[in-house]
Symmetry: C2
Subunit: 367 residues, 2 copies
């Protein structure tokens, strides 16, 4: 029996397809991996009557979600998720999170012993009754496997084009560090592995809230200084949120691609920013603009802002997160966008100087 | 004899004038300060034949460098730098750094005992023979006073307009922390004071190098992912440079307005970015574009890149700073802009995972 490892990609949207191109090429170069990479495709009939999975296997291209970019021929579409996953030693989860739970249930108890996963899915899972759960933890709960995370400033079309970028992998088992790096890194897709998976994953969800705030600033015409301040205060609230709800994170993780780089991209490009700008400029609700601008797709920022607000309210910590709170209230139309800046003028970050605080309290400083 | 403190602003360009508006308003509210704030004006004759200092004192407006914004009437222009400074307890230095040394020499030995300063001047001073000196240290050397620094994402016209922003003050004497905050903070100009002046000042100089790199990426049409990676790697090199040449800095300082916020503004707006983009698009040299786009003014990024490169070469550390090095070489036309990304593909940040490094070296990890 071969000891070579198998990789399966669970999901085949544009990000899943872009990452399958990388993984497909990499396994061919790695002697400890089988060449074939199965990619689970949720079957669809295309407009011309053909099946998506058949087109992928014949033309080596996801003509619906990543047209124009070929898969290496060792990437094979499989429409049965159990079939796609059963031999896999490493599973790469990359699908819209609303379908995740339902899709994974058939896999329960059917994975290879010792298999582990990596989640590329951004956002939080909301368990019934509210609150927040990390997607990687949800997968772990359903499948009882270790799940690492991969997040970064990685717009799928640019990754597919082979444009240089970086990404961050947060591992939950440091023995998988090297295999994670080997599987994903290329000359143009540079991987930094950190031992801080929670923080990496939280960044991937929270950045969208800040992106909405950046869009409001753009809509209000406030200029570069104000936008920089909102991005920075957003980053501070991301760090604080992680400290409160996922203690043990490292400050340095927020300097990785998953942190500051992805945040900046989200606040200058990105649809959360774009729709939020339109909210201010056209005075329409987010729901209306989702219909008009996104073909009815839900925007992740306002949803995440609501989930985060639920957590903050429960801990009576809204005042410590004035930017997140203001953005949520504007999304809910409880507050006009023009009041966002007033809400952060006296931000906790401005009230004390962390490094001095203790000395001050102990009466050591003359100020 | 009054124990009230006097403040003088040394410099009256657009940033000096914008900050004089803030300081002028603030001292009126602070009982421990004299109302009058003297601002040193390098006298000029305007096109209509009037003297700049006279116009400022009659119309309370710097019609040449910050037209459209009035000074509070307690801001008084003084053309003799000794006269402007001699009673000052706090001196705010804000002038182009090429004039600094010459301008300050007459003040030598003439300041009030106990006076201290704060520098708003970005960039390094280059002593004869090469190398780098912090501007605040140069002022300290000439005048023998403590010099704090104030840096942040603070485009002067937006500050003058009263648009919300943040700034960072790095103090060299924590007993001045409160007076620094009181003097500069307003509802729309939010101050965070940190005990890490070197890092604050270094950020203000190095960000311009990264801004040039961001401009090259824009000119090359590389998209959001690549730009985010260049900004992040630039930030990493800023941190590393500070660690090497100014040891003792705190990582958290790079999350302040002087760090990530000012860097982002420089890489999306800012003239370093704009000229560097034009270098790629029009194939012209920086010197040519300085003439065409900046009326002959020198761009700070390429100069700082050259100064930094001198330091790195001396320590044989160019390879540890591949982005700074590539940007410098492109500015010097030793390398075409299209090769910048090749130079950072195998960046030291991608070669090891800091948190694992020690364990790896000690043979504790299986990887």
């Amino acid at each position: 029996m071969s000891t070579k490892k198998n990789v399966a990609i669970i999901g085949s949207g544009n990000w899943g397809s872009a990452i399958a191109r990388i993984v497909g090429d990499n396994v061919k170069k790695l002697p400890s991996y089988h060449d074939i990479v199965k990619i689970w495709v949720y079957e669809e009939t295309l407009k011309d009557g053909r099946k998506l999975s058949e087109v992928i296997n014949e033309e080596h291209e996801n003509v619906k979600y990543l047209p124009g970019y070929k898969f290496p021929s060792n990437v094979v579409a499989v429409t049965d998720i159990v079939e796609a996953s059963k031999d896999a030693d490493i599973l790469v989860f990359v699908m819209p999170h609303q379908f995740l739970e339902r899709s994974l249930l058939p896999l329960k108890g059917k994975l290879k012993p010792g298999a582990f996963g990596v989640s590329l899915i951004k956002g939080f899972h909301i368990p019934p009754g509210g609150g927040i759960r990390l997607i990687s933890c949800l997968i772990n709960e359903i499948l009882d496997i270790t799940v690492h995370v991969l997040m970064g400033a990685n717009l799928a079309p640019e990754v597919a084009e082979g444009k240089f970028c970086e990404t961050t992998i947060g591992v939950r088992d440091i023995n998988h560090m090297k295999s994670m790096k080997d599987l994903f890194q290329t000359d143009n897709f540079r991987v930094v592995v950190v031992d801080d998976a929670d923080a990496v994953e939280v960044c991937g969800a929270l950045k969208n809230i800040v992106g909405v705030g950046a869009g409001f600033v753009d809509g209000l015409g406030y200029g570069d200084n104000t936008k920089a301040a909102v991005i920075r205060l957003g980053l501070m609230e991301m760090i604080k949120f992680t400290e409160v709800f996922y203690p043990g994170a490292k400050l340095s993780t927020f300097f990785e691609s998953c942190g500051v780089a992805d945040l900046v991209t989200t606040c200058y490009g990105g649809r959360n920013r774009r729709v939020a700008e339109a909210v201010v400029k056209h005075g329409k609700s987010i729901a209306t603009l989702e219909k008009e601008m996104l073909d009815g797709q839900r925007l992740q920022g306002p949803e995440t802002a609501a989930e985060v607000n639920y957590m903050l309210k429960e801990k009576q910590m809204e005042a410590r997160f004035p930017l997140f709170t203001a953005i949520h209230r504007i999304c809910e139309q409880e507050l006009p966008p023009s009041e966002m800046i007033d809400c952060i003028k006296v931000h906790p970050e401005h009230l004390y100087e962390p490094s001095f605080l203790q000395d001050l309290e102990e009466g050591k400083l003359e100020v």
